[in-house]
Symmetry: C2
Subunit: 283 residues, 2 copies
Amino acid sequence: MRLATLEVNGSSTAAVEVNGLFVSLPAADVGALLKQPDWRQVVEAHLADEPAVSVRDADYRAVIPAPSKVLCCGHNYSEHIRELGRELPPFPTLFAKFADTLTGPYAELVLDGESTEIDWEAELAVVVGAEVYKCTPEEASAAIAGYTVANDVSMRDWQRRTLQWLQGKAFDASTPLGPVLVTADECSPESGLAITCTVNGEVVQEGCTSTLVFDAAALISYISTFTVLRPGDVVLTGTPGGVGMARKPPRFLADGDVLVTAIEGIGELRNRVRMPVREPVLN
Amino acid sequence: MRLATLEVNGSSTAAVEVNGLFVSLPAADVGALLKQPDWRQVVEAHLADEPAVSVRDADYRAVIPAPSKVLCCGHNYSEHIRELGRELPPFPTLFAKFADTLTGPYAELVLDGESTEIDWEAELAVVVGAEVYKCTPEEASAAIAGYTVANDVSMRDWQRRTLQWLQGKAFDASTPLGPVLVTADECSPESGLAITCTVNGEVVQEGCTSTLVFDAAALISYISTFTVLRPGDVVLTGTPGGVGMARKPPRFLADGDVLVTAIEGIGELRNRVRMPVREPVLN
């Protein structure tokens, strides 16, 4: 099943894709849907509903617009870590984002001129579908609702101001998430899905989800050691090589750039960067 | 005004202190109260209500039990930074906690044996009372609802597993917060409040809130540059010198230890540490 959160006639609704069209579900968004313990049956009961409607890019919201927790893992693609000549890490590097950090899969990324080093990080995102606490990787795997696409757009100048990355990772509406959640029965990242990021059509990142050091189940199990995860919580699993910061010379996003983030079998984000020019102050 | 979140007859309520007793307010907790734009008038209208009841330690919950955002600042007491021979930082070091990380002011801190390096960090916490985004320090100051006490109890072994501190700072129910929120009109941390932490009666931290490098208004203004803050959001402002990790030899908390965290004019947290011994596995 492919689920989306859509804005229809001015109100938000969860929806399921049927032959390229969408059928509304009885929940305001996919996060609220997943909080219903029988969410799979709820979706199945609506698969044949009419009307199934076509949607425009502008109708999509972040597939989970208001998770109670968003955790992110850094340094998690083994091919990228090995290419840097580093050892594989014994523990995942984790940091948090806020629900406000998320935005729609086709939203403009309006950045306000505070940062001049805006960088891309294509990521597989895993969405929790059942409550877990101190669970094994096997239990974690069973609790996964599905997968979606994220770009952990990062303000490198802010990220490097201090040792803690949060302030470069938590600008409001800077992390697109979507367009759909593909349920775990139809999506198997551990068997290898191509993940790519392009800027204005040029491929800047290419990776494969089978090379994650900590896969989705391992991350959820590890995180659940210290905090409970609930339906609708989101874990970003890290980015492969090719970020702008690591290029020589470094390359960052500019006003008007189009960032496309794709994962095989899930879909793609397409976001234009907008950096409003500040009016000069005349004395 | 001194506000608390209490568990009364099995349900949660915001309350205001009147002569050492508490009067219930029409909100489930102080966070929900602060979301009412006229919250000051709501409280004032109830100050003379009957009955005013006495409460036991066990009745207190975290004063803000479910903030949408909890941000924390590290390295923020100038006397401690100077004692370490370091320069004052140009930017605040920020990381996040989850609402689940918070617990009551007199709750037992039940830690599950995953960590053997449990450390204390007495902190002034500031609570936001009005929505702010890209605000000046003056606007931030006007948006402060008040102040409370926190202990950012930290699992140093987990904190140091990777460069990002989150996993050592986000164990569920490890950060006591309370017992009361003292509104900003009655509390002035920038003019200097004593902050202390004791373990089993021995003073381990002593500081003064006037030596914060980034005071409450500066932190809120800075954070609001990248993310909106809303009523009930909480910012922990950092800890003075004297943490267990920095001692020679290092000192950590043990099963049964009583941690008392106090700020002059606000009140004190009193938390017993519980580390259940794991049953040995018999083969």
